[in-house]
Symmetry: D2
Subunit: 354 residues, 4 copies
C-alpha cells in the first residue's frame, strides 16, 4: 500500500464522474493531508477527468481508471465509494480485508438492520457481518465511534439536514415522538448527474413539487437514528420537494413540545450547548432563519429555531449544501475524525455571497 507523498495519505475515489465524485475530487485537491492517487469509474474509464470537467483541467491530469479492487488497495489507504446503491456492498469487504479504510457515500452501509435496507431499497444483501461494523457517518452524533471506524456509511443528504435539526430535541426527550414532520426541500443536483427528464432545467425551473410523498427511502434512515437518539420507537413524516436551484437542502422540522413552558430562548440555549463542540453547525440568533445559499460551497449546517407558543410546537430550520455537508464534505469530515485530524481540516467554511 502506497503511503502517498511525504506526510500525505493516499486516497482513491471510486465513482468519480458523478456529482458526489467531482465534489470529493474538488475537496480532496485542497486537503493538506491527502493525495489523490486513483479515480475510478466504469462507463468513463480511460477518460481524463478534465474531459468530464474541463474547468479542472489546470489542477488535475488524472485519468479515470477501471475499477480494480486489488489495484486500488495497493495504491490507496483510504477509499471513497461514490456509486449507485447496491454496488458498495460488493466492494467494501475485499477492500477492508486488504487493509483499506472505506467511506461509502451510498445507502449500503447506513442501516444497522439490513432488512430495513432490503425492504426499502429492494436489493438483497449477504454482507451482514461487515454491515454491522459500519459506523453511521454523522460526526456531530457519532464522533467517538467514527474515530475507530474502518467502514463508514455516510448519511443521505436529507437525513443529515433533518437529524441535525432534530437531535438536540430527541436526545433529551423534549418532543412528542409521534409528532415529527419533516418538510424538506432540495436542489436538483440531489438527483445526480443523470439525464432524467424531471431534472431538466426546462422541467424543473420555475416550479416546485413534492415527490415520493410518504414513501421516500430516506424515511427509514431518519427513523433509525431518531430511535437511537431517543431510545424509543418512532415514525417520522418525511416529504421531499424539488426546488428550482442547483444546490442546497432546507429541512423545515415540526414537533410538538412536551413541556408547554419552553420558549425559543430555551431552545437556543439547548442547541448551542449541544453543538458547542461541533464546528460545522451554526445555531443562528433568535429570529434569523437560514437561507440554503449561506451554506452553498461549504460544509456548514445553519440552524434557525422558533417556538410557536400558540400551538406548542418547535419549528426548526436547517440548511446545508446537499453535495458537501450532505454528501462529499461530510465524508471528508468523517475521514478527518477517523484519522485523528482536526475535524475542519481542508473543508470550506465560507460561501461567496450572493
Amino acid at each position: 500500500m502506497n503511503t502517498g507523498s511525504v506526510g500525505r495519505i493516499s486516497v482513491a475515489v471510486v465513482g468519480a464522474s458523478g456529482y458526489g465524485g467531482v465534489q470529493l475530487v474538488r475537496l480532496l485537491m485542497d486537503h493538506p493531508n491527502v493525495e489523490m492517487v486513483y479515480l475510478g469509474g466504469e462507463s468513463s474509464a480511460g477518460q481524463p477527468f478534465a474531459d468530464l470537467y474541463p474547468h479542472l483541467g489546470h489542477r488535475t491530469k488524472l485519468v479515470i481508471e477501471p475499477i480494480d479492487l486489488d489495484d486500488i488497495s495497493k495504491r490507496a489507504q483510504i477509499v471513497f465509494l461514490s456509486l449507485p446503491n447496491g454496488l458498495a456492498a460488493g466492494m467494501a469487504a475485499p477492500l477492508l480485508e486488504k487493509g483499506c479504510k472505506v467511506l461509502d457515500l451510498s445507502a449500503d452501509y447506513r442501516f444497522a438492520n439490513l432488512e430495513t435496507y432490503e425492504h426499502w431499497y429492494g436489493i438483497a444483501r449477504s454482507d451482514r457481518e461487515i454491515a454491522t461494523k459500519a459506523v453511521y457517518g454523522l460526526p456531530e452524533l457519532y464522533r467517538r465511534r467514527l474515530a475507530n471506524a474502518q467502514l463508514v456509511g455516510c448519511p443521505g443528504c436529507y437525513p443529515t439536514a433533518s437529524l441535525l435539526a432534530l437531535a438536540p430535541l430527541l436526545r433529551q426527550g423534549f418532543i412528542r415522538p409521534d409528532s415529527i414532520i419533516i418538510d424538506a426541500k432540495s436542489g436538483t443536483s440531489g438527483g445526480g448527474r443523470q439525464g432524467k427528464i424531471p431534472l431538466l432545467l426546462a422541467e424543473a425551473d420555475n416550479s416546485i413539487a413534492a415527490y415520493s410523498v410518504a414513501h421516500h427511502r430516506h424515511t427509514p434512515e431518519i427513523e433509525q437514528i431518531c430511535r437511537d437518539l431517543s431510545g424509543q420507537d418512532m415514525m417520522v413524516q418525511f416529504t421531499p420537494h424539488l426546488v428550482p436551484m442547483t444546490r442546497g437542502i432546507l429541512s423545515t422540522v415540526y414537533a410538538n413540545l412536551r413541556d408547554p413552558g419552553l420558549v425559543g430562548d430555551d431552545l437556543l440555549t439547548i442547541y448551542s450547548a449541544f453543538y458547542r463542540a461541533s464546528p460545522w453547525v451554526r445555531v443562528l440568533p433568535s429570529g434569523v432563519f437560514p437561507q440554503t445559499k449561506w451554506a452553498c460551497g461549504t460544509n456548514l449546517c445553519y440552524i434557525g429555531i422558533e417556538v410557536d407558543e400558540r400551538t406548542g410546537r418547535a419549528i426548526v430550520l436547517s440548511a446545508i449544501d446537499n453535495l458537501i455537508k450532505g454528501q462529499a464534505g461530510q465524508a471528508v469530515q468523517c475521514l478527518n475524525v477517523m484519522m485523528g485530524w482536526d475535524e475542519t481540516l481542508g473543508l470550506p467554511n465560507l460561501t461567496f455571497y450572493p
Copy 2:
C-alpha cells in the same frame, strides 16, 4: 354610471401599476363581458400604462389616472381595488354608496372580526358596518354568498391554496383540528413589485428560506375560514417559504386523520365529490403530485392527495399561480359569480408547458 360598450360592464382598476394590477388588466383585456374604462394609481398617475409594461403597448392606450372616487363611480360599475393593506378601508364605503360593486384584493375585507385584523395588521379600523357585509371571495366555498355580494374581500394567495387543500377534510370533520400544519412555498412575485433587497434575483435565486415563521399574517385568515368550515375553534401551523421562482404557490398540508381506516382512494373520492361543481379545482389521480408550473398563467388549483397509512396522516398538496388563482384571477372569478356569468368566463385554463 357608464354601462360600457354594448353588452359590456364598465370596470375600474385602482392600483394598476403593481403585479396584482397588471394581472387584472391582462385578464380583463381578454374578458368578453367587461370593458376597462379606468386605471388608477397615485405614484404612477399620468403615465401611459404601456410605459410601465411596454409589452402591452399594442393592446392598451390607457393612461393611469389619479384616484378620484367620485369620478370612478361615475365611469365604472365594478371597481377592483389592488392597493396596499389599509387603503381600501377608506374607499369601499363611498364607492358602495355610489352604487359600485367593489372587489378588494388587499387584506382589509377578509376578516369577519376586525379585532383580528387590527391585531395582526396593526391598522385601526372604523368601518365595522361595511366590513360585516363583505363576503370572503373564495368561490369554491362561498359561491352562494358571492352571488349577492356588493363588497368582496378577495383571499390571500397562501390562504387560497391552503384552504382549497383543507376544505373537504374540514367540512366533514375528517381530521384532528389541532394537527394541521401548512408548509407553504411561494415564488417571489408574492412580495410585489417593490425594490426590496430580499426579492432581488441576486439574493433570492439559488436559495430557499422560510420567513415569518409562526407569525405570518395569513395565519389568522386561514384559521378564520377553518373555523367556519369545521364549526369549531382551531389553530393552524403555517410556515411560508420563499422559492427561487417568479410565480406559483405550493401548499403542503399535513393533518392527522380521525379515522385510521381511511385510505388514499377514499380521500380522492371525497375531494372529487367536494369539487365536482368547481371548474377551477383539479383533483389529480392517485400518485400524481402537482408542480406549481402546471398552474402558471391559469386560474386552476391542482390538488394531489396521499394518505400515509404508517403515520395516519393525510398529506395534501395544492398548487396555484399566486397572482391568478391566488389573486387577480380569483377576483375575476368572483366577479363572474357576482354577475351571474359562467364562473370560467374569460379566465385562462391552460398553461404553456414547459
Copy 3:
C-alpha cells in the same frame, strides 16, 4: 378524409410527446377552427397524452397512437410533423399524395438546396422533387407563397428571430452583406425534451455559455433566406448561447450601415412600415429593448432598434418565445395563412407578466 366536427378542420400531430408536440396540442386545443383527431408517436404509443402531461388531463382524453400514415391521411386534413431531423423526409410525400397538407417542424423542408441540408445535417435525401415544392414557413416574409402551399418547412427558432430582425435591412440593401453578426441566446427548451446532461438544471442553471461556435446548423438556413431577401450572396456570423431559462430567444444582430447618415428614427420608420401588415411583429419605441419574457407564451416577436452613430452600425434586438413563434405557434400561423383564415386566429398575443 374526415372533415372534423362541423366547421372544423381535422388535424393530426405526429411526434406529440416532445416540447414541439405539446405546444402544438396546447395551441390547437384553443384554436376555433380545428379539431385534433390524432396524436402520433413511436416510443410513447399507447399512452394517454395526459400521462405524459398530467396538467392537461382535464382537457384531453386522446391517446398517443403508432404512426400509420395511411390511417392518418384518412382521419386528418392537416398533418403537423414534429419529429427529429430526417424523419419527415420519408413521410411528407405519402401524406401529400393522399391529399393532406403537411407542416413540418424539422429542418427537412427548410432548404431549397438539399446539398446544403445534406452537408450540414449529414443526412442523405432522395426527395428533391417534393422538397422544391416546400415553402419556407415564415409568414412575415413568404405570406403569399404560403397561401398556396401544400408542404411547409417551418423555420428554426434562431432563424425566425434573426431573420425578422434582419429582413427590413436586407430587403432594401441598407447594410453591408459581409458585416452581419448574430449573437443569439436561447432558453434550454430549445434542446428538446431529452435527458441530455448539459440541459439538466444542475448544469445549465446559473451559467451562460456559447456552443457550436461558427458551426451551428441554423447558419446555412439563415444565409439562404438572407440571400433570397437581398439578392446577393452572403455569409453571416452566427453564435448561439444557452441561457439559464426555459423559454425565449433573444437575437442581438449587428450590421454595418451602408449609409452613415441613417439614424435610429429612420430605422424605426423602415421597420414599422415593413411590418405594418404583420400582426405578430411589434416594433418597439426608440430606446426600448425587448425582454424575452414579454414574448413568453405568445406568438409575438418584439423588435428593438438602435443605431450607433459612433461606429456606423445598426444593432437590432428581437425576442420571441422559441417554442411558439420559434416553432409551434408559427406553424399554426402558417396554417392560418394556408387556410385563408385570419393570421392571428387561435394564437395567444398577451403574456402574463412577470
Copy 4:
C-alpha cells in the same frame, strides 16, 4: 499606522456593505498576509457586519464604522474603496498623503483622460494630478506598473472579461481595429445590492435583455486600453445583456483577422504564450467554450477561441465571476502584485461544480 498582527498587513474596506464589499471581506478573511482592521460605510455605520450578512457571523465580529479618513489612515496600510462612482475622487488624495496605498473599485481612477470620465459619467473632477498616477488594475496587462503603484483604479467587470479576450490579438496587431464587437452577458449581481425593480427576481428571471445599447459606460474604458495595447485609435461595439443568474460574465468577442491564413490552432498558441505567466487566465483546448459557472467563486478567467474560416473572424469567449475576477478578487490580485507577493496568494482557484 498600525502594522497589523505579526507578519500581516492592516487593511481597511470602505463601502463594506455592498456586493463588492462583502466579496472583499470574504476574500480578505482567507488571505494569509492581511488583517482586516476596519470596515466603513455611511448608511450602515454602527451595524455589526454579521447583521447584514448573518452567514458570516461565525467569522467576524467587526462593526461597520463611519468613514473617517484620518482614523482609517492611522489604522490601515491598505485601503480598498468600494463606493459609488464619484466618491473615491474625494478620498484617494488624503489617504495617499497619509501614506496609505489605495485600491479603488469604482470608475474614478480608471481613466488616463479625465475628460472621458467626465463626459461618460457626468461627474466633474478636480484631482487630475492624482488621477495621472493611478495604475489600471488589470495585472495580466499592467503587472509591472502595478508593482510600484500607490493608487490603483480597478477595472470594471465587463472590461476585465473583454480585454483579456482581446489583448493577445490587439498587442500583436492581428485584427482589424474597426471590426471589434463585444456582446457581453452578465448576472444581475453586477447591478449591486440595491432595490431596483429590474433586478428583482420576478422581473429578471426567465428572461434576457440587452440594456444601454451603444451607450454603456464601460465602452470608453475598454477603448482606452485597446488603444494602449494596439497603439492606434479605435472604437469598439459593446452591448451588455442581463442574464437570469446571480454571478458571472461571458464576453463573446468578434473581430476580423487581418491574415486570412490564421487558424484556430495558431490563436491557441498565441493566447497560451501571451498568458503563460498569468496564473489566473486559463486558455481552453480547441473546441471547448467556457461556461460562466466554471469561474464562479474563483479569480479565474477561462478563454475559449474559435476561428471561423468561412468568415475570417476570430470569436473569443471569456468567462469570469463578475464579483471576483471582475471586481474584488482582481483588487486582491493587484494588492498581491503591489506587495510583491505571489499573485495567487489567498485567492480561490477552484469552483464547486455544479
